[in-house]
Every structure is written in C-alpha cells, then in structure tokens.
C-alpha cells in the first residue's frame, strides 16, 4: 500500500476536534452569559456545573478536569489545523494575492479562520491555563475581579471575537466539507447555511460581549446591573 490511512484519520480528527470545541463553546458562552440574568444566576450556574446540585458543595476539581480535557482537544485541533496554514512566505503571498483578486466569500472566510485560529494559540491558552489552575475563583466576584483588576478584559474581548467567528465559520465549513444538510438544492442550502452563520455570530457576539460588560460593571461598581451587591470583590 502506498497511501496510509493516516491522512484520512487526521482529516477526520481535525473535523471532530473542531466540532467538539464548537459545541463546547456554544454551551460555555451561554453558561457564561448567565451573568446577564444577575450575579445570583451566574452563581447558580457555575455552582451547578461544579457539582453543587449533586454533592451539595462546589468541587473545583471538576472544572480542572473538564478544562484539562478541553485543553487537550484544543491542542490536538490546533496541531491538526496548523497543517493547513501557509507553510512559507511564498504560499502566504500567493494566497493573499489570490484572495484579493478573487473577491470570493468562502476563500476570504478561510483567511479569517487562519488568523482567528492563530490568535487563539495565545489567547485561549492563557485563559484555559488560568481557569484550570484557579477553578476555585470562578464566581460573580472572583471572575469580575479577574476581568477588571487582573486585566483579563482585553484578553477576553479578543478571545470572544476570535472564538465566535472561528467556530461559526468552522461549523459552516464542516457542513460544506462533509456534505451535511445538502438537501435537494445544495446551492440554495449553502446560502441558507451562510446566513445562519452570520445570525449565530451576531447573536453569540452580542450575548458574550454583553456578558463581558456585565462582569466589568460588577468589578467597577461592586454590584450587578440589577443593583445586587456582589460580596467578596475587595481582595
């Protein structure tokens, strides 16, 4: 045999890791945005995810374990997807010129995916590492403190934009790549999918950035935007 099965496995793994990460992010950003319903809601959600409803108390180690798994999938995905990056200056220039001349939506979206992916090497790694090593600090007060006084808001701002765009475009690409949801008229369906991508992007960006704003508000004023005082900020 000339061709090994490795390229097939790698391609599949690239898609599966991307899909798992995207699904994870879809939930993660919703849970995160529970802060929009007030500090109490966020406290409840973060507590529930750390096993409070089952064990009666928060077990931060659950967070550490989950992040560890996500981190591993993230590294695997980045490693696999990196194969697709332009490998040298010539390829980089050729693609840039090609993209500018073609003025073709899906070609340009790929470029966006390369750059948002590249940015996440750094942005997401920092975030994941902090959450993995300090899970006990998650909560309305701890998170707001981190975001405002430990200067995480610029990081989260960039990471939020990068991850939402990357994941939404990534899901679209998965659909066209594997021929999901082709329907009877794949060309029409592709347009619909593209529209869905932009709607999902707009909804998630608005929601997640509003949530980030809500944390900043708590950090600066000591209360959530409903006026509930958030204890434990002043460390």
């Amino acid at each position: 045999m000339k061709n090994s099965l490795l390229p097939a496995r790698l391609d599949l793994a690239q898609s599966i890791t991307g899909l798992v990460l995207a699904v994870f992010m879809a939930f993660h950003l919703i849970f995160d945005s529970s802060i929009l319903l007030g500090a109490g809601a966020f406290d409840f959600v973060s507590g529930a995810l750390e096993g409070k409803l089952i064990f009666g108390e928060k077990i931060p180690l659950i967070t550490t374990a989950v992040v560890l798994v996500v981190f591993a999938i993230f590294i695997a995905h980045a490693g696999l997807a990196m194969r697709k990056f332009p490998q040298n200056a010539r390829q980089y220039r050729t693609f840039r010129t090609h993209m500018k001349e073609m003025r073709h939506g899906d070609t340009s979206l790929w470029w966006l995916q390369i750059w948002t992916g590249f940015a996440m090497f750094f942005l997401a790694s920092v975030h994941l590492y902090i959450i993995m090593t300090q899970p006990q600090t998650i909560g309305p007060a701890g998170s707001a403190y981190r975001i405002v006084f430990e200067w995480k808001w610029p990081l989260y701002l960039l990471l939020t934009v990068a991850v939402v765009l990357h994941a939404a475009v990534g899901l679209y690409r998965l659909a066209v790549k594997w021929g999901w949801f082709e329907g009877k008229d794949p060309n029409r369906r592709r347009k619909t999918l593209k529209k869905a991508v932009w709607i999902v992007t707009a909804v998630y960006l608005t929601m997640s950035l509003a949530a980030l704003g809500a944390f900043v508000h708590i950090g600066l004023t000591g209360q959530d935007h409903f006026g509930t005082v958030v204890e434990g900020l002043g460390s």
Binding site: L5, W110, G179
Partner: protein, 245 residues
C-alpha cells in the same frame, strides 16, 4: 436600403497582461485597449477586435467559441472564467484579462492546460479500469439510463482549468489534484465498467495532495463554467475516502 443605426455602446477599456516567455527581453506588463461595446459582445469578440485593430501579435486561445472545448479560460477581473462565454455587458467598463495562473504560460493569455491535465490524468488514472479484455464483437453491457445520466453530468467537465486557478489550495500547493481531478474520480467511481474499489481510489487521492488537501473554499464550485456540482462531489468522495479501512 435602410442603414442600421445603433446607439453608441459603452466605451470599454480592456487591459491585457502581456508577456512572451520565449523572448528573454519580455517583461510582464499591462497593455490597455479602448473599444466600443455593442450588443452581444463577448470577450472572444472583443479580443478578436483588439487583435484585428491594435495588436496583431496578441496570443490567446479559442476553438469552439461555445463553451465546449475549454481552451479560452482566463482570469477576468480577478476571477477565472471562459472568455467565449463571458458577455462584456456583465462586466464593468474596465476589464482586466490575465492568463490562468499555475499553468505553463505560452504567451499573453494563452496557457498550456493540457500538460497539467495530462499529468493529473496519469496520476489519477482517469480511465476505465477493466479486469477483462472486452469482447469487441459482443454488445456492450447495458447501463440504467439514470446512471448514464449521472455519469454524463460529471463527464461534462471540459478541463478548462478554471477550478484550479480559482482554488486557494492549488495555488499554495502545486501538487494538489484540484476539483477537476476529484470530479473525475467521482465520475469513474460511478461507472460500473471501472472495477476499481474505494481502496484503489484511496491509493490515488487518499492524501493531502488529494481529497484531504481540499480546504473546502469552494472557489472551484463557484467559477466552474459548466456548473458542475463540485461541492457535493468533493464532499461525497471525502466521505467515501474516510470510510475506507
């Protein structure tokens, strides 16, 4: 006799990227030509007029003038397409024409797609592979009309090379077989006379120069002048190739 009166058409400026690789002094440069547009003008007609009136040595290829032979592919305002099938009325008044990239340049707008296509065909063995020598005296085995239609649909590819020029992957990685190659595999896979199995096809396209190299940018699908269903075919082949074990 009535003389024909015609409203004056748009003034077109056609810029052609000219270069003669056979001449060591030649440098690629833009040459600009002014023409008056008239109804039904295609780029083929416009180029003929340029050659007749301004540049007798202008090189470009045409055979069928009807989108059948695939020889007139060129980059029109940044996008690959067939010159004979492109009406100037669908373009802005300023039109740039450049040769298809990636293929060997013969001169000006003329490129040798044949050499590339032949290399691809030999690599992918794009012909019917039969195990037995056919008996030329017997009737050919029958094929369901639906299947024949399906094969014919994919066989409409004219090897114009537009999908290759439009593919960001092919531009970056020169050994990539491109949509034209993957479409051919899809075509022979359908053909019951071709006795190759998916495992055999995997041997020719199961790597990063084949189907797994495709990054689903769909430039190919969006420029193919024959409107071949390249997106669905590549996705289909990809699904088949990951399930080979």
């Amino acid at each position: 006799m009535k003389t024909e009166t015609r409203a004056p058409g748009r003034a077109l400026t056609i810029k052609v990227l000219r270069h003669n690789p056979a001449d060591p002094d030649s440098q690629p440069q833009w040459a600009s030509f002014e023409l008056e547009e008239y109804e039904g003008m295609t780029l083929f007609i416009a180029l003929n007029e340029i050659r007749d009136r301004f540049a007798p040595d202008l090189q470009y290829d045409f055979v069928c003038r009807a989108g059948i032979c695939g020889s007139c592919g060129m980059v029109v305002n940044g996008r690959p397409g067939l010159a004979c099938r492109t009406l100037t009325s669908t373009l802005p008044a300023e039109i740039t024409l450049a040769p298809l990239p990636l293929f060997k340049l013969i001169g000006d707008l003329s490129v040798d797609t044949g050499e590339w296509m032949r290399g691809m065909s030999e690599r992918l063995e794009t012909w019917v592979h039969e195990q037995t020598t056919p008996d030329i005296h017997a009737l050919e085995e029958r094929m369901e009309p639906e299947l024949a239609e399906e094969i014919y649909e994919l066989d409409r590819c004219i090897e114009c090379g537009c999908c290759i020029a439009a593919c960001g992957t092919a531009r970056m990685r020169e050994d990539f077989v491109g949509a034209v190659g993957l479409n051919k595999i899809a075509r022979f896979r359908l053909d019951p006379r071709d006795q190759r199995t998916d495992a055999d096809f995997y041997q020719v396209i199961g790597d990063d120069n084949g189907v797994f190299g495709c990054m689903s940018l769909l430039g190919c699908h969006d420029v193919c002048p024959k409107d071949l269903p390249l997106q669905t075919q590549i996705a289909f082949i990809r699904r088949k190739m990951v399930t080979v074990s």
